[in-house]
Subunit: 200 residues, 2 copies
């Protein structure tokens, strides 16, 4: 059995950036397949009565997060700029990620979106940007943009968000192992892989 | 120069338990002195309008935390039981920790309080328990209980809490390096020590 590790992520999530950039290569090095599981944190936060990111609701925590993210990216050799708008609207990016034909395409597009947002400071809710990212990752951009907003694909994203919540996911990134254990945060990837290796 | 690493902790904080149990030995192994900085999270949470721990306000996050803490303690070989009451009132324990004569005594008492709470499930607001822990760690328990509630010691704890907030501390444990960098969480101790070693 070679069960995949599930990568639950939200495009507006800051720590999902380093997580998404490094998971595929590290998992591959351990012979572990991954499944990209885009979902939306907005509805989960709204169910707690929050109207924005907890990093905005708690300014001290937010200030720490930006500094910590900067340090983390420097340590990993990843570019970093603080985007002008936070959190960004990652709805369309998540829909596109789900609509893509396979995990390889999802990974490439996901990394391109995070790089654009957190290494280049772009606004990932911009359809023209998303089209360009699709195009440069070798996809038929027009077709994917259309598929992304198909009723069945919109429903698939809603279902992913509901499933995340049912699994107990409350933040991103969350790693879910073959036996359903959750590990939350970029810095818990290695723990998640260790656990997954023992149970898969 | 051999500046100490500051250990900002709150007795009710769950992840402060493994953090407090391991910091002294690991820091010593690297030739780094530590300073125990007990403070209260309550006033910081209250300034955000919270009346209890965020782990109670966010049930999914709370459920994850208890499971994750159990895994973390197992990994570190630390006992763990979930206390009946959470968060506990750590006011008196924090006052005692501050009143103790030196870092060595603070460390021994701090570990004894966390072990009592999270390995044995006791209520650390109980004065009789705190007296017993003082006694078994070689202190004059009666004298320390009295010193703990002296006006100057009460003020010292208020000052620690105000200083934590001024430093940008929003949770516990928080490691503060010689150059004022913050690292939050038990699992960031090694990062904090790496940083501290470079700047101290």
């Amino acid at each position: 059995m070679n069960a995949p590790l599930e990568v639950w992520y939200e495009f507006a999530s800051t720590y999902s950036y380093p997580a998404a950039m490094r998971v595929e290569a590290i998992a591959k090095g351990r012979g572990i397949d991954i499944r990209w599981k885009p979902f939306l944190l907005g509805p989960i936060f709204q169910s707690l009565g929050w109207t924005t990111s907890p990093f905005n609701l708690q300014p001290a925590k937010g200030a720490y997060m930006w500094r910590d993210l900067e340090r983390t990216c420097a340590q990993l050799g990843l570019g970093f700029v603080r985007p002008a708008v936070f959190p960004q609207n990652g709805l369309m990016a998540a829909r596109i990620a789900l609509a893509l034909p396979d995990e390889r395409a999802r990974g490439a597009f996901t990394r391109a979106v995070y790089t654009s947002q957190f290494a280049q400071g772009h606004d990932i809710s911009d359809p023209a940007l998303l089209e360009a990212l699709l195009h440069s990752s070798g996809q038929d951009a027009g077709r994917m943009m259309a598929q992304a907003v198909s009723p069945s694909n919109k429903d698939a994203l809603k279902e992913n968000t509901a499933r995340a919540q049912a699994h107990g996911v409350f933040g991103a990134p969350t790693w879910r192992t073959a036996d359903g254990e959750l590990f939350w945060g970029n810095d818990r990837l290695e723990d998640a892989l260790d656990w997954h290796s023992k149970c898969a």
